[in-house]
């Protein structure tokens, strides 16, 4: 009966991992976009952007300053990009009828979705590892201690969990796989409307207000503080609260969608 939540979730998690192993190109692809953005932001825009955020006047110095500033944004872009893959994988399950099979089996209800979420988090960390390696190669160095870096990983994990639950729900909500794959793009847009790539101070007033009150700004500021020693203040608490609230709300939404999935997938 429902007492097998852990065992069933583990089974579903193994299924996600196996899919990842079988199709490694997906991981490389999800890491590819943030890597390209990182290089573009640093080498194409970095000289100008770095000066704009008050970095050194020399082009090289400005680039380094912007690399440091933008890296949290690139890490979040990686996490959000993996969400698209998570949404696609659950949407594919849905269209293939295997979810209907799971729903008639005596397995823990949450396990099917939890498997996708855990798979999404692992995928996010694999992609993050690739992005971080590239960032270090181009000159990024955290200026804080190991403990702070570990805390930053923790914040990334919480964000990845929130994004994964949201993506699972977004993957189930629409009729088609195509729509499911586009919905998480909203998160990418949201990320650009935050302090992840430029300080909110440079934005016009209404946008600035929005940027400062949406989840990605406190998350980005917390990561920045943990990696570079900038002041964090209440951002850490707000960031964690956002992640928890989004995860719980998306979990409830996803469970409800799962229970009400049509018995027969749309052909």
């Amino acid at each position: 009966m429902t007492t097998h939540v852990v065992a069933d979730s583990a089974t579903m998690f193994r299924r996600s991992l196996r899919r990842m192993r079988r199709y490694p190109s997906l991981t490389f692809f999800t890491a590819g976009l943030p890597v390209v953005f990182l290089l573009l932001f640093v080498y194409v825009l970095g000289g100008t952007m770095g000066a704009g955020i008050g970095g050194p006047a020399s082009a090289g110095g400005a680039r380094d300053a912007y690399l440091a500033y933008v890296l949290p944004g690139i890490l979040l872009l990686t996490v959000v990009g993996v969400g698209t893959g998570t949404a696609i994988s659950i949407a594919m399950d849905k269209t293939q009828g295997i979810i209907a099979r799971f729903r008639t089996m005596s397995i823990a209800r949450a396990s099917v979705l939890t498997g996708h979420v855990l798979g999404g988090v692992v995928q996010a960390f694999l992609a993050l590892a690739i992005v971080v390696v590239v960032a270090v190669v181009v000159g990024f160095r955290p200026t804080t201690g190991a403990l702070s870096v570990a805390a930053a990983l923790g914040v990334l994990a919480l964000t990845a969990i929130a994004v994964a639950w949201l993506s699972v729900a977004m993957g189930m909500a629409p009729e088609s796989v195509e729509t499911a794959s586009n919905l998480p793009m909203i998160l990418t847009l949201l990320l650009f409307l935050s302090s992840a790539f430029v300080p909110t101070a440079s934005m016009p007033e209404p946008l600035r207000w929005f940027a400062e009150h949406q989840p990605f700004t406190p998350i980005a500021e917390t990561l920045r503080g943990l990696l570079l020693g900038t002041p964090i203040g209440s951002d850490a608490l707000i960031a964690v609260a956002w992640c928890v609230v989004i995860s719980v709300a998306a979990f409830v939404w996803a469970q409800r969608l799962y229970e009400r999935l049509p018995a027969r997938p749309a052909a």
């Binding site: 089974t11 079988r22 293939q96 295997i98 008639t104 005596s106 027969r264």
Partner: protein, 318 residues
């Protein structure tokens, strides 16, 4: 069949609508343990909806559905531990091999490693999939995929199995294989509830048949009982000319005509007397009959006489 134990399936007053469309209009039936029950009807009759409700995928609007004594609405988890469903849409994971698909089911059934491996190997063997076990299911033929689908359902050894149109779209050979599998399941004491559009399939496999049409059960019984509803069998009349067919069709308005073959099929109830009556009628109308054949009653005739259509090929609704 003696009703000593709880019926495997007990349905009464089951209703379901989608929006304003009434799909099931108060149906009821019982399925004895260890028997095969066929829900027979045309596309859009509500067969799949019924099987989805029985297998806990859909909630009924009204009525009571008990599976192995458990209520599908109040105790869905108990029901799920008893049942297995092989639906019309393939429920295999095409990205994984046949063996991996079966393993997944063994893990979800908490069989444990040795028993799980054993059962997976047995099922691969029994469903003639051993050779293809290591290939991705996406490369399987329709028949193989259907066998894998059913094998996955059987990993947990469910007591009651729901098969939604198990042979639709299969070639005749694969269909026969599927029939053998169903017979084998019943021999092992499993209760099988299947839906089909094929009268022959219901006739060959089922202990009892319910005829579903327009959301209502129009007849229910053993194949023999249903055939008794139409005692005479049918007479097929062949004609040489279209004009003869036209005139005969006017004299026998209840008959089913086939303009291509120039034949007319009359379901009649009077045995030899009935045949004579038909011929007299045509004789008096001076219609030339080219040939005549008498067929013993089959479920086609039952269907025809109960629904006014020759068989299930109507507009489909899914």
């Amino acid at each position: 069949m003696i009703a000593t134990s709880t019926p495997a399936v007990a349905v009464s007053g089951l209703r379901k609508s989608f929006g304003s469309q009434l799909v099931l209009d108060g149906i009821g039936f019982q399925v004895a343990e260890g028997s095969v029950f066929a829900l027979l009807g045309p596309n859009g009759a509500g067969k799949s909806t019924a099987i989805h409700i029985l297998s806990t995928l859909l909630r009924p609007d009204d009525g009571e559905v008990r599976i192995g004594g458990f209520d599908v609405v109040r105790e869905p988890e108990r029901v799920r531990s008893l049942i297995g469903l092989t639906g019309q849409v393939s429920a295999v994971d095409p990205q994984f091999t046949g063996e991996e698909n079966l393993r997944l089911m063994a893990d979800l059934g908490h069989l444990g490693r040795p028993l799980g491996r054993q059962r997976v190997a047995d099922l691969l063997e029994r469903f003639d999939l051993t050779e293809a076990a290591g290939k991705p299911a996406s490369t399987y033929s329709g028949g193989m995929r259907r066998r894998l689908d059913l094998a996955m359902t059987l990993v947990g050894e469910p007591r009651i199995i729901f098969l939604d149109e198990p042979t639709t779209g299969l070639d005749p050979r694969s269909r026969r294989v599927m029939w053998d599998i169903v017979r084998d399941l019943v021999a092992r004491g499993v209760t099988v509830f299947l839906t089909t559009q094929y009268l022959e399939e219901a006739d060959r496999l089922a202990n009892r048949i319910a005829l579903l049409d327009g959301g209502r059960i129009v007849a229910e019984g053993t194949p023999a009982e249903l055939k008794r509803l139409v005692p005479g069998g049918s007479v097929e009349l062949a004609f040489d000319a279209q004009s003869d067919l036209d005139r005969a069709a006017r004299l026998l308005p209840a008959a089913v005509r086939d303009d291509q073959a120039l034949t007319l099929r009359v379901t009649e109830r009077g045995g030899v007397q009935g045949v004579r009556h038909v011929l007299d009628l045509l004789d008096r109308g001076s219609v030339e009959v080219e040939g005549l054949s008498v067929r013993p009653v089959d479920l086609d005739d039952v269907f025809l006489s109960l629904t006014g259509r020759s068989d299930g090929h109507e507009e489909s609704r899914s």
